[in-house]
Subunit: 334 residues, 2 copies
DNA sequence: GTTAAAAATGAAAGCGCTTACATTAATCTA
DNA sequence: TAGATTAATGTAAGCGCTTTCATTTTTAAC
C-alpha cells in the first residue's frame, strides 16, 4: 500500500503538499495539485485513516451506543444515524449496552478509547450522574431517548408521558373503563414515563389505577404474551389493553387469538412506537408514533454541527408522539 | 489524558516496559509490573488505541458490511457478530451497502482504509470477480450469505436451494398444485436459489412452473402485499402461496385478510427465514428456518481463529435450513 | 568466584500522517 | 525596479504507541 511519502516522491513535491491536496487545505497551485493527483492515481494511494487520526487528533468516527443491535426499534435508529453521518464522510462505530450498567459503561469506555470524535448514546441503565460526568468530558456527547436534568441541551428524547396519555385517552374516549396495562420494564425511564401518562389519563377520567390490571413486561413479544395470559387468568374483567410498546401488543394479541378471543370486538388494544410489522397483522394495530428516526437524524446532525461544523440544523430536544388510529380499538360495549 | 510516557515517568521505567505490561508481552518482573500498574491506576491511564493501531499495524477492529442496518434479518446477524467479537475484546465497525454496487464497494474501501484486521461481508450486488479479488488482498475476508466459486473456503452460506425445496415440497405434499410464488428480487442470489428450489420441487411432482403464478417482490412486506394483490387480480386460480421470505408472506397475508380471504382455509402460505414476528400473527406462519445467527457466529469465530488465533472452532461453510411447520398451510380442497 | 546463559530493561527507530513555521517564488505597488 | 505583499512550497517536529536490538542485571552451573 502506497504511503503519502511514495506519492510525494513520485510527484516531486513535499509531504506537506501532498497532505494539502489530500485534505484540500491550504494553498496549492493547480499545476502541483495535478501532479499530485496523477501520482495518487498511479499509485492507487489511499490515506491511512489511522495515521490521519493519530496525527490530527480526529478520527472522523462517531461512536453509537444502543442497547441492542437488533429489533424493530434500534435498527431504524442506527440506519438513520449511519446514513446521515456517512453522507458526511464520517463513520460509525457501534456498541451494544445490552441493558446492563457494566456493559454500557464498558461500551462508552471503549468508544472513547477508540478516539471517537463524538458519542451518540442511548443508555438505559447508567445513572444520570454518570451521564452528566460523561458530558463534562472533552468528547461531545448526545443522549438519545433520555432526558437528564442539567444537560438538557444534550438530550434528544420523546415526550413519553404525552404518548402514554394519548394512548390511554384514546381507549377512554371509546368508553372503556376497565383498562389493563402491560408495561415495559420499570427500570427503564421510558417505561415509567409511559405508565405515568396512562395513570394521568385515568385520573383525568376520574378512574383509579388498579394494580390488578397491571403487568410489568419486557418490551418484547414474549412479555406481552405472558402478560396477557396472566391478566386473563386473573379473572379480573377488562375490555381494553394498553401496551407500552407494539411488540408486547403483538404478543398479547397473539395470545388472545390463540384463546379464541376476538380483537377488537371483545378486547381493544393500543400499542406504542408504531413499528412496521404490526401494520401487517389483523387487526391493524392502533398505536402511538415514536419518531425514532427523526431523533436519530437530529442527533447525527447535532454531531455534524457541533463537532465538524457541517450542519446548520436547529436543535430540537423534545419530539412529540402522535396517535395513529388503525383498527384495534373499538367502542366499549354497554 | 495520560500517555504511556507519563506512566513510564511516574513508574520510573522505560516506555518499552510499560508497553510490555499493558500488552502482557515479554518478560517483566513482578516488582516492575506492580509499579507500572500502580502508575497506570494513579493516572487513570488508558492506551490510545489509534496509536496502538498505527504502531502495531493491528486495529483490533473488524469491519462488517451488511446490506441494511435494520430489519429482522440483519439485526440478529450483527448482534451475534458483535457479541462474539466483543467478548474477545475486538470491535466492530459497521457499514451498510444498501443493495447498491457502488455503495458496497465504497463501504469495503472504507472498512479497509480504516485498518480493519478482517472483514465480514454480506455483499449482495458486487460481482464474484470483485469478491475473489478482495479475498486476494492482505486483509482476511469472510463472505456471508454467498457462495463464490474459487473462494468457497471463505464463504458461510445457507443452502437456499434446499430451503426452497423444503418450502414448496411442503405445500405440494399437502395436495396443492396451483401454487403461486412471490420471489425476492432476482438480482439477489438467494432469491434466485430459493426460486430454483421451488421449481425443482414442482418438477419432482411433475408440475410445470407457471409464469402467471409468479411475482418478483422485494423481500419486504410491501412487496408481498403488492404481489398478492397482483396475483389475486390476475384471476389465475391458486390455493397456496410460497413466499421467498417471511416479510413478504406477512404482507401477502395482510392483503388476504383485508380482502376477507381466510388463511389457511382458502389460501395456504409458507414463508422463509423464520423471523420472530410472524410467529405472533394469526395464523402462525409455517416457514423455513434460516440460521442466520449461527452463520454470524461462525463468521465471527473464523475471524477470531484466522486473524487473532483465538478460537478453535471448526469451520462449517454450508448451513442447512429446516422446515418449521406451524399453522399457515392446510390440505388442499378437492 | 568465574563464566555462561537467561531474564529484565532500555534506547531508539519507526508506523503514516498533520501542521506550525520557515523559506522561496510570484505578484503588486509606487 | 526595489521593496512589500501574498502565494506556494518545504522542513521538521510531533501524535502515542510497538518492537527490534543492545545493554544490564540476575540466576545458574561448576
Amino acid at each position: 500500500m502506497a504511503t503519502i511519502y511514495d506519492v510525494s516522491l513520485l510527484a516531486g513535491v513535499s509531504l506537506a503538499t501532498v497532505s494539502r491536496v489530500v485534505n484540500n487545505t491550504g494553498k496549492v497551485s493547480d499545476k502541483t495539485r495535478q501532479k499530485v493527483h496523477d501520482a495518487m492515481a498511479q499509485l492507487d494511494y489511499r490515506p491511512n485513516t489511522i495515521a490521519q487520526s493519530l496525527a490530527s487528533n480526529r478520527s472522523n468516527s462517531v461512536g453509537v451506543l444502543v442497547s441492542q443491535l437488533d429489533g424493530p426499534f434500534y435498527g431504524p435508529l442506527m440506519r438513520e444515524i449511519e446514513s446521515v453521518l456517512r453522507s458526511a464522510n464520517k463513520h460509525v462505530i457501534i456498541a451494544a449496552g445490552h441493558s446492563d450498567a457494566a456493559q454500557e459503561k464498558e461500551a462508552v469506555e471503549f468508544l472513547l478509547s477508540r478516539g471517537c470524535d463524538a458519542l451518540i448514546v442511548d443508555a438505559e441503565i447508567v445513572t444520570n450522574d454518570y451521564l452528566r460526568e460523561l458530558c463534562q468530558g472533552k468528547t461531545p456527547v448526545v443522549l438519545i431517548n433520555r432526558h437528564v436534568e442539567g444537560i438538557a441541551d444534550r438530550c434528544v428524547h420523546l415526550d413519553n408521558l404525552k404518548g402514554g396519555l394519548l394512548a390511554s385517552r384514546h381507549v377512554l374516549e371509546f368508553g372503556h373503563s376497565r383498562i389493563a396495562y402491560i408495561s415495559g420494564p420499570l427500570f427503564k425511564l421510558d417505561a415509567r414515563e409511559r405508565l405515568q401518562g396512562h395513570k394521568q389519563a385515568l385520573a383525568e377520567h376520574g378512574l383509579a389505577f388498579d394494580e390488578a390490571l397491571f403487568f410489568e413486561g419486557d418490551f418484547r413479544e414474549e412479555g406481552g404474551y405472558e402478560g396477557m395470559a396472566t391478566l386473563l387468568d386473573s379473572g379480573e374483567p377488562f375490555s381494553a389493553v394498553v401496551c407500552a410498546n407494539d411488540q408486547m401488543a403483538s404478543g398479547a394479541i397473539a395470545l388472545c387469538l390463540e384463546r379464541g378471543l376476538r380483537v377488537p370486538e371483545e378486547i381493544s388494544f393500543v400499542g406504542f412506537d408504531d413499528i412496521p410489522f404490526p401494520r401487517y397483522i389483523s387487526p391493524k394495530l392502533t398505536t402511538v408514533s415514536n419518531p425514532i428516526q427523526d431523533m436519530g437524524h437530529m442527533a447525527a446532525n447535532w454531531v455534524l454541527k457541533e463537532v465538524y461544523g457541517q450542519s446548520d440544523i436547529e436543535f430540537n430536544h423534545k419530539f412529540e408522539p402522535q396517535l395513529v388510529v388503525r383498527e384495534s380499538v373499538q367502542r366499549a360495549l354497554g
